[in-house]
């Protein structure tokens, strides 16, 4: 039973990763892509981490999985913020078009 729930959570998380990749490929500009990506990977990893901790054997493993999720979520949020701020500043200074190839 627990395995089934864990499997479902992991499958659902994987769907979010695929959705994030589709967004990365299909969305028209950098801000839309950023939106798709940060949401998808945050939720996807959360679901997979939850599923994996249901199958973990020791509390230590659960603790480490939770820590991993926490730091990825943090880095992803801050990274998204930095990229967006960078892209906006580039757009303003008109040098953003420098690297279109």
């Amino acid at each position: 039973m627990l395995d089934l729930v864990a499997g479902l959570l992991i499958a659902l998380g994987t769907v979010f990763f695929v959705a994030g990749t589709v967004g990365l490929l299909r969305f028209p500009d950098i801000y839309c892509r950023l939106h798709a990506l940060t949401k998808a990977d945050g939720l996807g990893l959360a679901l997979i981490a939850l599923g994996a901790s249901l199958m973990a054997r020791t509390p230590g493993e659960v603790f480490r999985i939770v820590l991993i999720w926490f730091f990825v979520a943090l880095a992803s949020a801050v990274g998204g913020h930095l990229i967006a701020a960078y892209a906006r500043r580039m757009d303003r200074t008109r040098e953003g078009s420098l690297r279109h190839d």
Binding site: G13, T21, A49, I65, F71, I83, A87, R99
Partner: protein, 86 residues
């Protein structure tokens, strides 16, 4: 269960490979960098599942290193790129 998780691993790896198109096409440097960021998270997911499938908790430490250092390359990119604009 192992076969199912094996399938999940293949899907996650394939999504990294599909995302590579964005790295190669760009068009902006930030697009390429951002895609690499997503791959980092996918790699963490793959490692968490792998540690379960092969029953090796040491992979969680690898995932932890990925998680903690995920921001380093990105920050290097943003800080260096902004240095030029000012």
């Amino acid at each position: 269960m192992t076969t199912f998780l094996g399938g999940v691993l293949i899907v996650l790896l394939s999504s990294i490979l599909a995302g590579l198109v964005r790295v190669l096409r760009g068009p902006r440097m930030a697009d390429r960098m951002m895609a690499a960021q997503l791959f980092g998270t996918s790699a963490v997911a793959i490692l968490i599942i792998l540690s379960r499938v092969t029953d090796s908790p040491a992979f969680l430490d690898v995932a932890m290193v990925f998680a903690l250092l995920a921001a380093v390359t990105l920050v290097a990119f943003v800080a260096l790129a902004l240095r030029r604009v000012r």
